[in-house]
Amino acid sequence: MAKFTFTLNGAPATVDIDPSTPLLWVLRDHLGLTGTKFGCGAAQCGACTVHVDGEAVRSCVYTIDSVEGAAVTTIEGLSKDGLHRLQKAWIEHQVPQCGYCQPGFIMAAAALIAQQPKPSDADIEASITNICRCGTYARIKQAIRSAVMP
């Protein structure tokens, strides 16, 4: 066990925990934020995507000891005031089916458009590598495109 302190959605957070615990389970079980999902546990699906210091990371393989002092943002903290424009676009395009993968996609897309405000289709295809078993990719692409339109 060891103590780790970091910033979570803008507020300080401290946990006392086995250092090998993935950030995913710290968020879900210890800090009560269940919007970040477990899909594969092996960095293959992206359901667990969160931002660490602005970068999209797959929290299922990101151990808590590497989060010390960092700023973590989850789907619950993506927008301070209501919905992020991606979330609005997601609703407008009625993107989710089962919805389980969607927080991960939204976090991956949010990191993309923070770094590349006008991503091309090729940019979207290259950087959104998450898995959606319900097959909502076409609407995800449309929603990202519409969210970055002037």
Binding site: D29, Q44, Q97, P103, C134, Y137
Partner: protein, 724 residues
């Protein structure tokens, strides 16, 4: 006629007291969500409709929401007949109770694309009955005949005087009115919420983009602890010995629970359970199949073909064998679909609290009644003592019809004396599934002088897919009605047709997967039709038209798909492949458009035209077909499980590959509404994808691929070349 149980108010109220779960209230914390259940009711007018004094209407959804939009469309059908104000309707997942069972099967489950088509008539009547009771109550209050009154958007109005009474004011009195046996359902022209090209924003979507929707894995109940599980290293293997001392003193560990073919560790936190599970020393007995592998399985399929025993005839019209034996031209081919895992995005999980007072379950389940029955048996308690709260499902695809994972969670709770949330790893999920088995169809067709098939004879070998989900036993040597779907009762006019089926016995658990028998059998039948068209020197689209000439609705679907795809007019370098299906009460025709670039295929477009009789929600219906196409592309291109040493090789998405964003083509989807009855949508979208794709690959390359997935046959997409 309405079944009596559906109208007994006592049943209804008991049902509500048992606790429906409100999951639509987006921003509530998980614990609040469940606490709110009891407050959701109001005055019940029947099993489906309750109205509170403030006019809030609570509508029961008998089904599970796994992305098919059912909680919105199902409730909207009731609300439409009820003439409710949709903005004042709340939707809850119904309890597991007789009132909510499938009207024909008397069994509550979500699957087989049945949620709308089998309940439509019933729930319309229930909405209409409640509306008439509200009108009757208003007639008393206003002292006018009911026929002078009109219900509209949550109130009853007397047009003559302009007086209006809200449903909230009327509900208590309405509940005392006799239940009309034959209420007047609205003609389609008066529908306001469903049909007519309308669409309602789905109720579950805002919570799903905020991250506040509660899936099974998100459930939190007071005192809850966690379990991780590992199953035997060979399928069907059992525990020989568990060395509990190997995890003594490990942080957080509360219990080690042997579970027949698996072992679970319960700990304060999930990751502690996972760490302890890795340390736990277990010795296993091999399963009944020992160290079987793909080669053993292939030999079993081949032996079944060679043998005369174990066959049953699923369909016989005319005399296919005789026609074939005297035919001038016989085309013969073998089609194979692989073993598949369901791999829904949310791994199997359940939360169960077993106490001396009863059992409470919170589970992402498609098999709510199955859950109750299985737990009653496993725990030896009365089914009435088991309360099943249903959460959102992170996909299901059939897997969640079973309750094995709920039973495991229950046994963990019993052992630990605490509520337990059991979570399977993805490796467990893919490695210990109840698989969609491989299908092997040997087809022979006789071509007549007109080039059309005079006879087709299918001999299908596949293990049962129905057995584990059927309330009645499915015996070897008989026909599994789901396994032969699409080979039998298809609308092609072929005078002599026969399908024989051999229910193979395998040492692997098997069950239905989205598309049931239609998926693998449509690949076989529609590849065969394509082969026959080419053998006859005819255009595959026109060939299908000839076979469907007497079926106007089916022709319309094929024609519309051809028109949308620009059949025969593909731009240079591109080709089309077509497939057609009659499945789940709907017609579907899909046309794939692709080109070949550097030896790999680039899929440009998939056109889907579906006739489900009636489209109740246009945007949602489109979404289901679109998602179905992508799901079907995974099955067509990449996905399969294989066996070595008595177990599945693929354990995660690196081995069990699925389509990702770049492989998604342009999707063109349209609907026709010529079929007389409402058909299904949830399972329809993927059905023709494999055959349409394989037929397009033939058009492009001249190579006929008769085995799925295409990538294992060396057919790669330009994005999928890394397939290993």
């Amino acid at each position: 006629m309405l079944a009596e149980s559906q109208l007994s108010r006592r049943d209804v109220i008991n049902g509500l007291a048992a606790g429906a779960v409100v999951l639509v209230a987006g921003r509530l914390a998980p614990t609040q969500v469940f606490a709110q259940a009891a407050a959701a009711a109001g005055t019940a007018l029947n099993a489906w409709v309750a109205i509170a004094p403030d006019g809030i209407v609570t509508l029961q959804c008998a089904h599970s929401e796994m992305g098919q939009g059912i909680m919105t469309t199902f409730a909207a059908i009731i609300a439409d007949e009820l003439e409710a104000d949709w903005s004042k309707c709340e939707v809850v997942f119904s309890p597991v109770a007789p009132a909510y069972r499938h009207p024909v099967y008397n069994w509550q489950f979500t699957g087989n694309a049945e949620s709308i088509r089998s309940y439509h008539a019933l729930i319309r009547k229930m909405g209409a009955a409640a509306r008439e009771m509200l009108i009757a109550a208003a007639a008393d209050r206003m002292r006018v005949p009911p026929s002078d009154l009109a219900a509209r958007e949550g109130s009853v109005r007397h047009p003559g005087s302009g007086r209006t009474l809200g449903y909230g004011e009327l509900a208590a009195a309405a509940a005392g009115k006799p239940v009309p046996a034959e209420p007047r359902v609205k003609p389609e022209s008066e529908w306001r919420l469903v049909g007519g090209g309308r669409s309602l924003p789905r109720r579950d979507i805002p919570a799903k983009v905020e991250g506040s929707a509660i899936f099974g894995i998100d459930v939190k109940v007071p005192g809850m602890v966690y379990a991780a599980i590992a199953s035997a290293p060979t399928l069907g293997g059992k525990i020989a010995n568990v060395d509990r001392a190997s995890v003594a003193g490990t942080a957080g560990v509360l219990a080690v629970v042997p579970l027949d073919y698996a072992v679970a560790v319960v700990a304060e936190h999930y990751w502690q359970a996972r760490l302890a599970l890795e340390k736990l020393k277990v010795t296993w007995q091999p399963g009944p199949g020992g160290s079987f592998d793909d080669a053993n399985l292939a030999a079993m399929y081949a032996a079944a073909f060679a043998s005369d025993a174990g066959w049953a005839t699923a369909e016989a019209h005319g005399d296919a064998p005789v026609t074939l034996s005297s035919a001038q031209r016989v085309i013969e081919a073998e089609y194979r679909s692989p073993w598949l895992s369901h791999a829904p995005m949310e791994p199997m999980n359940a939360t169960v609290s077993v106490t001396s007072d009863g059992v409470t379950v919170w589970a992402p389940t498609q098999g709510m009644q199955m859950t109750q029955i299985v737990l009653a048996k496993v725990l030896n308690v009365a089914p009435e003592k088991i309360t099943v709260h249903r959460t959102f499902l992170g996909g299901g695809f059939g897997r969640r019809l079973l309750a094995d994972f709920v039973a495991q969670a229950a046994l963990c709770s019993k052992a630990a004396g605490r509520p337990v949330k059991l979570i399977w790893s993805r490796e467990e999920d893919i490695g210990r599934d109840w698989y969609r088995p491989a299908f092997l169809d040997h087809a022979r067709a006789a071509l007549g002088p007109d080039g059309l098939p005079a006879a087709i004879h299918h001999r299908l070998v596949a293990p049962s897919i129905l057995a584990p989900v059927s309330p009645v036993p499915v015996e070897p040597g008989t026909v599994d009605g789901l396994a032969v779907e699409s080979l039998v009762e298809h609308p092609y006019k072929i005078a002599n047709r026969r399908t024989d089926y051999h229910m193979l016995q395998v040492p692997i658990p098997t069950m239905v997967l989205r598309t049931t028998g239609h998926g693998p059998n449509n690949f076989a039948l529609e590849s065969l039709i394509d082969e026959l068209a080419h053998a006859a020197g005819q255009d595959p689209y026109q060939y299908r038209r000839r076979l469907l000439a007497e079926n106007a609705a089916a022709l319309a679907v094929v024609d519309r798909a051809a028109a949308l795809a620009g059949w025969g007019k593909a731009e240079a370098g591109r080709v089309h492949g077509m497939a057609f299906a009659d499945c789940f009460g709907s017609y579907l025709c899909q046309v794939a458009e692709l080109s070949v670039i550097d030896g790999a295929i680039k899929l440009h477009k998939m056109v889907s035209v579906c006739d489900p009789g009636r489209v109740l929600d246009r945007v949602n219906a489109t979404s289901l077909i679109e998602g179905g196409v992508v799901w079907g592309l995974s099955a067509a291109l990449y996905s399969a499980v294989t066996f070595a040493n008595g177990h599945v090789r693929e354990r995660n998405f690196d081995g069990f590959r699925v389509v990702t964003l770049p492989d998604t083509p342009e999707l063109v989807t349209d609907f026709l509404q010529n079929r007389p009855a409402i058909g299904g949508l949830g399972e329809v979208g993927p059905v023709c994808v494999p055959a349409a794709l394989a037929n397009a690959v033939f058009a492009a390359t001249g190579r006929r691929v008769r085995s799925l997935p295409l990538a294992r046959e060396g057919v790669f997409t330009i994005y999928g070349k890394t397939f290993s």
